[in-house]
């Protein structure tokens, strides 16, 4: 036996149990209000002044003799007198179940299990009965709040012009373009004095312009001028804009001047197992805060943590796909040598909550690459090649 204290058992809601709530999809009949039954309607006036315990005993006797209809009356009265009595609720569930009144039985068993999660019988019956659909009661309508009225008006205005595609392929409509460095941080500087921050900004501005003009993609830049933006600020901007894709633009540099070409990076689980563990650990912490009951080890299936893990996995996978596409499209459009797709643990990539790639458009340390990058028309060519990557 697990040494659960009575207090703890009672404190733990049914939602916190592994077999309740969305965590394993057992919600079915929503809150039948058994308490709403008028007491005067109950057909046993002789018991009217008796206490819940006596009523429950009477109900239990009726159940034991197979008189389920006769049990419902005293038990319904008992729970109205003592709404926190889980035993009475459990018996009421049994009586309804005997009468094949499944929604009522589900509601009573749910109440019993909510009040006392260690009531195995009620819990088990609830699990069994809700494996299949159970009828629900309509909820009463409440008057609308000011915000609800505003939301309704907004929905009338906007929702009708939304058109949905039914596909499950990943959709990119909002892109955050991140020109690396800026301001006091020039990034890499070429022998000829060309600065990474200027080239990256120029390509980013051109890319945004091309995308906005030629497609339904909306863009946002993390910086539009020569100033520095902190790394954390860049990913926060992507979250603020609810981007579908984050593209960071950089120019590479190496000690060996011969190094040249372009490459595309993405953050992957493979590249950073420790980071993947950290992300998973963090997401589990988030779920713990969102739902304190989720912190019960061994008891709970953290369904939302599972979904968050899937989300992260999906974004990393998509990042890899985008990286491959960008690299491939650029290979045919640019004179650069292709250095392929790499995965790495860049801050801006791992902190993004969407697919994210980092483009290294040539080597500023290579004299030939630097001379190309110094030409505005060549930078625009790069931007046009990158824009083709979005056509994937």
């Amino acid at each position: 036996m697990k040494p659960f204290s009575e207090k703890k058992e009672r404190k733990q809601s049914a939602e916190g149990h592994p077999l309740f709530g969305r965590r394993v999809f057992l919600r079915a009949a929503g809150g039948l209000s058994l308490l709403a039954l008028p007491l005067t309607a109950l057909p046993f006036p002789a018991l009217a002044r008796e206490n819940a315990m006596d009523l429950c005993m009477a109900g239990q006797d009726a159940i034991a003799s197979g008189d389920f209809a006769g049990a419902v009356g005293p038990l319904a009265k008992a729970v109205s007198l003592e709404p926190e009595n889980d035993w009475c609720w459990g018996l009421l569930g049994r009586a309804y179940h005997g009468l094949k009144k499944i929604p009522e039985a589900v509601a009573a068993f749910r109440k019993a299990a909510d009040l006392n999660p260690s009531d195995t019988y009620s819990r088990m019956m609830l699990e069994m009965l809700t494996q299949r659909p159970v009828a629900r009661q309509e909820k009463p309508q409440k008057p609308m709040t000011a915000l609800e009225l505003e939301a309704e008006k907004e929905e009338r205005l906007i929702a009708q012009r939304l058109s949905a595609s039914s596909g499950l392929s990943y959709q990119v409509r909002r892109v955050v373009i991140d020109p690396g460095h800026g301001g006091f941080d020039p990034g890499a500087v070429g022998k000829g004095g060309l600065k990474e921050k200027d080239v990256a900004l120029d390509i980013a501005l051109a890319l945004a312009e091309i995308l906005e003009a030629g497609s339904s993609v909306q863009t946002r830049l993390t910086r539009t001028g020569d100033y520095y933006v902190a790394l954390s600020d860049r990913t926060a901007a992507a979250n603020q804009f609810r981007a579908d894709l984050f593209v960071s633009i950089h120019i590479n540099a190496a000690e060996k001047r011969a190094a040249r070409g372009f490459e595309t990076y993405y953050c992957s689980r493979k590249a950073s197992t420790k980071e993947a563990e950290r992300v998973a650990a963090f997401e589990n912490t988030v779920v713990k805060y969102d739902n304190p009951a989720a912190s019960e080890p061994g008891f709970q299936i953290d369904l939302e943590a599972m979904l968050l893990g899937m989300e992260q996995e999906l974004y990393w996978k998509k990042s890899g796909t985008f990286a491959e596409t960008f690299q491939k499209r650029s290979e045919s459009a640019l004179p650069f040598e292709s250095r392929g797709v790499q995965s790495a643990n860049f801050f801006v990539l791992r902190r993004a909550k969407m697919p994210a790639i980092l483009l290294e458009a040539g080597f500023i340390s290579n004299p030939e690459n630097e001379s190309w990058l110094a030409r505005p028309e060549f930078r625009r060519k790069i931007a046009m090649a990158f824009a083709k990557g979005f056509a994937a």
């Binding site: 697990k2 592994p18 969305r22 999809f25 919600r27 929503g30 315990m53 239990q60 159940i63 009595n85 035993w87 049994r94 009531d119 088990m124 019956m125 699990e127 069994m128 009965l129 494996q131 299949r132 659909p133 629900r136 915000l147 939301a151 907004e154 929905e155 929702a159 939304l162 949905a164 959709q171 990119v172 301001g183 941080d185 520095y228 902190a230 790394l231 954390s232 600020d233 990913t235 926060a236 979250n239 603020q240 609810r242 963090f282 988030v286 805060y289 969102d290 739902n291 019960e296 080890p297 061994g298 008891f299 299936i301 599972m306 979904l307 899937m310 996995e313 999906l314 902190r351 969407m354």
Partner: protein, 285 residues
Amino acid sequence: MIARGLRYAFGAALVLVLAAPMLRADATVDRLVFEAADLHYKGEIDKAADMFEKAAAADPKNVYVQNQLGVINVKKKNYAAALKNFSRVAALDPRNTFAMRWMGLLLLREGKMEEARVWFEKALSVDKKDADAYYFLGTLYYLAHNPEKAIFYLKKARDADSDEAETHYRLGGSFADVGMVKNAQLEYLRALAISKRHTRTKNALGWVLYNQEDVEGAMAQWRETLDISPQDTEARENLARANNSLAWQAFSSGNRIAAKRYWQQTLVYDPKNKAATYYLDMIKQ
């Protein structure tokens, strides 16, 4: 105390009387199932699994037992075994929506989104008001960044049963994705009414408010997130960004004192923020 004693005294007998229609008129199987369910609740999943296996051997068509074995296998991360359990139930019981949703989820876990969708839709074909099936379908589209379809299904989940914070959270996000900020705000507030410690909702609500120029309201949400979860990186980054932006505005209008104060705040939330460090040094000089 008396009530509790009586309940347990009668409990075993009632199981045999009442569970019969659900299970089988086999007292051994009933007892195994009851004891296994109790062990499962207590977190003793290995013992529970052994007992459920015995029940399954005695009654191979017992769908409740198979579902419980599936859930235990998920807890033990034996996903392939769990898929077999739920698939067995789905074959035995065409109305078992519990198993259908799990089939969808386990396939989604493997990245098989189309196959997952088929199972959630199967659950809906059995129960048109299955809030969880709608929620998972909505989540599928949410993951695919298809907000219109996500809204379609998440609204149905909400209307079928609005007692889950996650439904409102994802619906809020989908509304924000299509620029329906009032609806986004409303759904986030509904999520917080259900779960006031839902930090992901607070972080997202902050941006919805911020984008409507309610900067103070946004920052209050993120500060509350940090009260709940002091290590929340996202809330820290959001606060750093908001303070940095305020600092820029103050600096650009010549108010260096305010700029200094905001950049100092930026460093409180993001101590390695190079921009704030640099400009604070510049102001000092």
